[in-house]
Symmetry: C2
Subunit: 216 residues, 2 copies
DNA sequence: GTTCTTAAAATTATAGATAAAAACGAATCT
DNA sequence: AGATTCGTTTTTATCTATAATTTTAAGAAC
């Protein structure tokens, strides 16, 4: 989260490109030409370059000096890496958020969870999934941790959208329910363990086709 | 960790500014004026702006649109936050690195540790401390995790250098030795637990003067 | 047919210039 | 006296233009 509302052109380009990359609209490894996007957004290439730097820091693009930037490609190893990082950090966040979780928050989380079960497509489901995690983790009051988790969520979502269509929904929502129940019962260790397993499961899914190329 | 060797002007400015901010040469909250640094580095302000975006992602500066960037200020809460994140992530890295740790690596780590005991000043000690951690964690083979840890190390170092002069050295090096011993004995859980305590200790140090202002 | 060299085209990286927004200060009004 | 408004000045954000570097392609030599 770079800023509250970033009305600057750089911010708009950053968000637009991030959305496209995450949605898989632009294939991994594609060259991103600054003039192209400058023309598309009706801007010069200077803000485009600044947007590239932000995306680079987010891990969505890789930049080779004097050679331009490409959409970051990821293999199954990196997906697992992101999943493990998420597991560690979300558990940390949950530990600190747990004491501040009110019944109202848990009720809202349950509502989001129910909405996720009826999600029409992967995109909508991912939206509610992210909302769920964000809701129960935000009370930890650790902004740097939350932004790092957000970046990891983006990477996860990218994988989720990229070509591989697995059966999504049921199992994870069961996990969500189990987490909420443990939180209501004040069994924080159980909640944390369930959360860790839940997050890692995404990366360890055997059904994932490893047809993603690694070019670096 | 933007690139291997970043000969571009943006890279040079980024490193120079990061060093100064970490070393405490520029006070937290100070405005960073792009023209000023453009002139100092004999460059235009475009690469300066790109450097700002990188530093922003690293958490070293905060940027308000149309208002410029300021050196990020940090209070004791954020120091603890960074310490906890480091603890979680370094433990994760160590768990994956442990199986690949050779005797040669551990010997080198011990040599670095010895060098750290004779460090003349805080700066030199931090250098060896970072080298130690990096050496035993790199074999995990998780690049994203390692760069995130590097960023957290930078934040930690910033706190270490900022005004507060505590007795450094002895206790942490004992921790380092304990970690190495546990690794040699293949007691990975002990090593991980010691590492976590060691990292958190930095942030929890009661001797730290909380005279750092938070302006946000 | 392959490979090396060389030239041309495309693209990146930076500089210089312009417009717009915010900070600062002075003068005026209450 | 204090507050407020208006204008000046500083600084940011962006655009246009230029230099340098890489990639592409063509042609010649082997």
């Amino acid at each position: 989260m770079t800023s509250d509302k970033d009305n600057t052109i750089t911010g708009k380009i950053t968000r637009a490109l991030a959305d496209r990359i995450i949605a898989g609209h632009i294939a991994p490894g594609s060259k991103l030409r600054q003039d192209h996007f400058a023309e598309e957004f009706g801007a010069s290439h200077v803000p485009v370059r600044e947007a590239f730097r932000r995306l680079e820091a987010q891990g969505l693009v890789v930049s080779e000096p004097r050679r331009g930037v490409r959409v970051a490609s990821f293999d199954i190893a990196e997906v697992r890496e992101v999943a493990e990082m998420r597991a560690s950090l979300e558990v940390l966040a949950l530990r600190h958020a747990a004491p501040h979780l009110t019944t109202a928050i848990l009720d809202e989380a349950e509502a989001i969870n129910r909405a996720g079960e009826n999600a029409a497509d992967v995109r909508a489901w991912e939206e509610t999934n992210r909302a769920f995690h964000r809701l129960i983790l935000t009370p930890c009051g650790m902004p740097r941790l939350l932004t790092t988790i957000d970046d990891l969520h983006a990477a996860s979502a990218r994988f989720l959208f990229s070509g591989f269509r697995m059966e999504w929904g049921a199992p994870t929502d069961q996990d969500h329910r189990a987490i909420l129940k443990a939180l209501r019962d004040r069994q924080f260790d159980v909640a944390a363990a369930t959360l860790a397993r839940h997050v890692k499961w995404i990366g360890a899914k055997p059904g994932a086709k490893p047809r993603l190329k690694t070019l670096s």
